[in-house]
């Protein structure tokens, strides 16, 4: 598969979204929480509390929507500042109640628009980066589709970052890169290669800890395996003191 094949697969409309992961991994135990307590409830971000093998966890996901109607209402997974502030509120809540945080990342990027700028898109992302760095509870981020730049990073200052085999993570979209490099936004295949945005590339660069294989029959095998892997990882992280945990997190990003 070429880099661009991965880009195409990551963006495919029939790909499971955060809601699918939440439903299949946490089942009925997921209780959704809404709003940032400042401005609004951003539907591009879904969040709440759930149970993982009987233990409470905070779950946050960037949600693209599974059909056109949902995609419209969820702004195609591009969050506004209130989405990032909702995510941070839920993370702070997780810290207070000593439960780990799991983030599902799937976004082409933070939304670029008038309201987003007026309400401080840059400030909202910056605050997440800073606060997540010292959040005294384990954070795990799983890239399930697209990981678009700062809008993805705002949910990925984590102790471990995993990527689905066909997920991508990039500082700029291949289209954006191509239009700057060659003044031709159609040269996305070439740009995709240059950016080193596949799970394989990012694993080699030491940016992610784990690649999650995508079985042919994604429905049956993926979610159970992932559920066990998440539970195991949180069990290991629980053995660390909060001070050690955030020291390791600092070092994880310090090395780049």
């Amino acid at each position: 598969m070429s880099a661009f094949d991965h880009v195409t697969a990551a963006r495919a409309n029939d790909r499971p979204t955060s809601i699918d992961y939440i439903t299949r991994i946490f089942g009925d135990s997921f209780f959704e929480l809404h709003g940032d307590r400042r401005f609004a409830d951003d539907k591009a971000v879904i969040g709440g509390i759930a149970e993982l093998n009987g233990k409470p966890v905070t779950v946050i996901g960037l949600e693209k929507g599974r059909n056109l109607k949902e995609r419209m209402s969820r702004n195609f997974g591009s969050a506004h500042p209130e989405g990032y502030r909702k995510a941070l509120r839920l993370m702070k809540q997780a810290e207070k109640f000593h439960r780990p945080v799991i983030c599902f990342v799937d976004t082409s990027g933070a939304y670029c628009g008038i309201g987003a700028e007026e309400r401080g898109q840059g400030q909202a992302i910056a605050e997440n980066l800073m606060e997540m760095m010292t959040l005294k509870t384990p954070i795990l981020s799983i890239f399930i589709g697209e990981g678009g730049s700062g809008g993805a990073l705002a949910l990925a200052v984590a102790d471990e970052v995993w990527m689905l085999e066909n997920a991508i993570y990039s500082v700029i979209s291949p289209e954006g890169c191509a239009s700057i490099l060659w003044k031709d936004s159609s040269k996305t295949a070439e740009a995709s290669e240059c950016l080193k945005l596949t799970a394989q590339d990012l694993f080699k660069l030491g940016v992610i800890e784990r690649i999650i294989r995508e079985p042919k029959d994604i429905e049956s095998k993926l979610f159970d395996g992932l559920k066990n892997l998440i539970a195991e990882t949180f069990a290991k992280k629980a053995a660390l003191s909060p001070e050690r945990l955030i020291e390791l997190r600092y070092n994880r990003f310090r090395k780049y």
């Binding site: 670029c112 008038i114 987003a116 910056a126 980066l129 700062g150 990039s170 500082v171 997190r249």
Partner: protein
């Protein structure tokens, strides 16, 4: 004959995102310079005497990092840190070496940020100044590393940090490693902040993208130069997304002040005294407590 106005023309589309134009690091003596905003012509020496601010319309010309240090730091007190550090092409991005080479030539600097220690009206501080002449102040690995080291040094020595930002955002040529600098620098800012130390950011024209979405917006106090363009997305990207023209002065410093995202817009000629005054208002009380505890023993 060289066209003396040539340097006022944008070099490429990227560098003109803010609607303003790049200015040359070196203005020969006694040439007429045209303001890119109000088009008024003025003698370069008069412009320099006025802190490179247009005498007619108050437009704050972009200035090189070293010039900013000269304007801000007390003479003879500046010690630069990590001056020799330079970027490598870690992801084999096409033509990155060439780009770096020309950035070094045009800016006379090794990277898009300059860091060091010095005094402002006698107040000791760590300072970082970004440089628009180096790849439009984009955030490479070395940019992030120098800023992170500056914060770690300041945390260790219990000093305030002042950063003058100017940036088009992430550095595409370093791919994901550029993005990681946002997290890395934010971690260093947080440690400095948790140590009870002061961090002031001064946003200058333009500050956008990954720099806005990380250390630029993380200051205890956020200042800006008048009319600087400040945003997450660049105005052209927004216009393409929403398919409409943006209102005039959208994303200007004054607009952000009104929306509550910066503390004050400060004229360049008042910047140095303002910074010194703010540092003086933040005595290191934690350190004094330690000293007091020592004295009791």
């Amino acid at each position: 004959m060289p066209d003396i106005f040539n340097f006022l023309k944008p070099k490429n589309e990227l560098e003109n995102q803010g609607g303003f134009v790049e200015n040359h690091p070196y203005i020969p003596e006694e040439l007429w310079v045209k303001c890119p905003v109000c088009k008024a012509a003025m003698l370069s020496s008069d412009l320099m005497d006025n802190h490179k601010v247009c005498l007619k319309c108050n437009y704050h010309f972009r200035i090189a990092a070293r010039q900013r240090i000269e304007m801000t730091i007390d003479e003879g007190t500046f010690t630069e840190m990590d001056a020799e550090m330079t970027s490598a092409n870690k992801i084999d991005f096409p033509d990155y070496e060439k780009k770096l080479k020309s950035a070094k030539l045009s800016s006379g600097e090794n990277e898009s940020v300059l860091t060091g220690v010095g005094c402002i009206n006698g107040e000791k501080t760590v300072i970082a100044v970004m440089n628009s002449q180096f790849m439009m102040g984009s955030m490479g690995t070395v940019t992030g590393e120098k800023i992170t080291r500056a914060f770690e040094y300041a945390t260790d020595k219990r000093l305030p940090v002042i950063i003058f930002t100017v940036s088009g955002g992430a550095r595409m040529q370093e791919g994901i490693l550029s993005l990681m600098q946002m997290a890395k620098t934010s971690g260093a800012v947080k440690r400095h902040s948790d140590a009870g130390l002061l961090y002031i950011t001064v946003l200058t024209d333009p500050t956008t993208g990954g720099v806005t979405a990380s250390f630029a917006m993380e200051g205890d106090i956020i200042l800006s130069e008048p009319r600087a363009l400040i945003g997450f997305a660049g105005p052209r990207v927004i216009e393409q997304t929403i398919r409409q023209k943006l209102p005039k002065d959208f994303q200007s410093a004054e607009f952000l002040l009104e929306k509550g995202f910066i503390d004050a817009v400060v004229e360049r000629r008042n910047m140095k005294d303002t910074l010194a005054r703010l540092i003086r208002l933040h005595p290191d009380t934690m350190q004094k407590k330690e000293v007091a505890a020592d004295e009791r023993v």
